[in-house]
């Protein structure tokens, strides 16, 4: 599997949010680091097909980002998860599963599995309005996985999770990366340092670092600060 991004640009009234980004990703966990305003979220939105690029192309094994076949294998967790407060966690997963084209029986099986996998357990039957920030994040992770995606795009997935949950989530992503392309955008260096096989860094809308990463290395923060010392990760 190969995700190919060529010459991707997004301009907002003259401002270049993403500027001529080109890269290729294969199976595994790929980390995306960058300061606030570097263009990470805009890039993730374009890779998820929710934002139309000003220029450039995105394809997964030749399938264009705008096609239904691309979205069929996509799992996406946006930075800010919208939810219907009156729905239970389980209902929310069932609802998104229906939009992802899953049959009711298939969706029910997956939703039950994922509620357990993300540690929501009994809370899955409670209304989302009663959830804590961490529980909502876990629900977001569950919905991204409901269609067993080949391409998983997660934007700041561990925000609001406690250290134990973060470690559990890292293991989960690592496992998923064995047979899927995982793109993980974060500002927490430790989230990607030990699990990413490839590291990308963005600054001012451009990818300024794109290299294979040795999971044993522990100098990511140092490397980042050396390159972008003045910016906040």
């Amino acid at each position: 599997m190969e995700l190919i991004v060529r010459g991707l640009c997004k301009y907002y009234s003259g401002k270049k949010a993403v500027d001529d980004v080109t890269f290729r990703l294969t199976e595994g966990v790929n980390g995306l680091l960058g300061a606030n305003g570097a263009g990470k979220t805009t890039l993730m939105r374009m890779l998820s097909g929710v934002l139309r690029p000003t220029a450039g192309t995105v394809s997964l094994d030749g399938v264009d980002v705008s096609s239904e076949d691309y979205r069929a294998v996509l799992g996406y967790l946006p930075q800010e998860l919208g939810y219907y407060p009156d729905f239970t966690g389980f209902d929310f997963l069932m609802y998104l599963a229906s939009l992802k084209g899953l049959s009711r029986s298939h969706a029910k099986r997956r939703a039950t599995e994922l509620i357990e996998l993300t540690g929501l357990g009994e809370a899955g039957r409670k209304r989302i309005r009663t959830y804590s920030g961490g529980m909502r994040r876990r629900l977001g992770i569950a919905q991204a996985l409901i269609n067993d995606p080949d391409l998983l795009i997660v934007d700041e997935p561990t925000a609001g999770l406690d250290p134990g949950e973060r470690a559990r989530f890292r293991d989960l992503l690592s496992e998923l990366g064995r047979h899927s392309i995982v793109l993980l955008s974060t500002h927490i260096v430790s989230d990607v340092e030990q699990i990413a096989g490839r590291m990308l860094m963005m600054s001012s809308g451009r990818v300024v670092f794109d290299e294979l990463w040795d999971k044993g290395r522990t100098d990511l923060e140092e490397l980042y600060l050396k390159r972008f010392g003045g910016e906040n990760v």
């Binding site: 599997m1 069929a72 946006p78 407060p85 080949d150």
Partner: protein, 232 residues
């Protein structure tokens, strides 16, 4: 030695090649369009359904009074019904789930259309049930009664859709409510000002056609806009 075992040892099963690619190529949407509409109907808030049924009950009670004003009072209620529909259609925007829905396999346009069909069809059904009853107790025929009920509904729905595209959040909700109240008041005022004269003219089919055209325009515009995430 068991021949089966011998063969198994002699010819080991090769590792699957391109299994994932094959499965991906054959992943089909498991949900038909009809099932999608029913699923969307299932996720419409319970209070929307209950309130809609409540409106039907109120209209029937009003009709049973046999007052000549019953049709006008009933038609002044339909903007509130339309307001509920607009609120359901704009639910994704209100709760910020647009981004998630856009990343789903089913195009958001299809999902929104399914939701519109689910709620719109139910409301049309309610008006279709109320029209013959109001007609039987009143002075107008069924077609004219239907037009009197449908016109304010469509007018409110189309203006509400337009406003909810332009204004978000609380501001949008307030403006949509204001439109519903205005249409409701307008209906009652028209009755009081020109009631008898209006009933003798053939203006009502014209009003219905205008409201229908406006609704089609607004539905198409709303569906068009769902293709792109509007971002600051």
């Amino acid at each position: 030695m068991n021949i089966k075992k011998e063969l198994k040892n002699a010819f080991p099963v090769p590792a699957p090649v391109g299994r994932r690619e094959f499965l991906r190529a054959h992943r089909r949407r498991e949900l038909s369009t009809m099932m999608l509409v029913l699923t969307e109907a299932g996720y419409v808030r319970l209070r929307t359904w209950l309130s809609s049924l409540g409106f039907l009950a109120v209209m029937l009670v009003i009709a049973s009074g046999g007052e000549p004003e019953a049709i006008w009072v009933s038609s002044s209620l339909t903007p509130a019904l339309a307001l509920m529909a607009v609120a359901e259609w704009g639910r994704s925007r209100r709760y910020g789930t647009v981004e998630l829905e856009l990343a789903c396999r089913t195009p958001r346009r299809t999902a929104l259309l399914a939701r519109m069909v689910a709620v719109g069809a139910a409301h049309l059904g309610i008006l279709a049930l109320a029209a013959p009853v109001l007609s039987a107790w009143g002075e107008m025929n069924v077609a004219r009664t239907g037009a009197h009920l449908l016109t304010p509904y469509l007018l409110t729905a189309s203006l509400g859709l337009d406003l909810s595209r332009r204004c978000r959040g609380r501001e949008g909700a307030i403006l949509c409510s204001a439109v519903a109240i205005t249409v409701c008041a307008l209906g009652l005022w028209i009755r009081r000002a020109w009631g008898g004269a209006l009933e003798r003219t053939k203006l009502w089919p014209v009003a219905l056609i205008v409201a229908l055209i406006l609704s089609v325009i607004e539905v198409v515009s709303t569906l068009r806009e769902t293709e792109v995430l509007t971002w600051s």
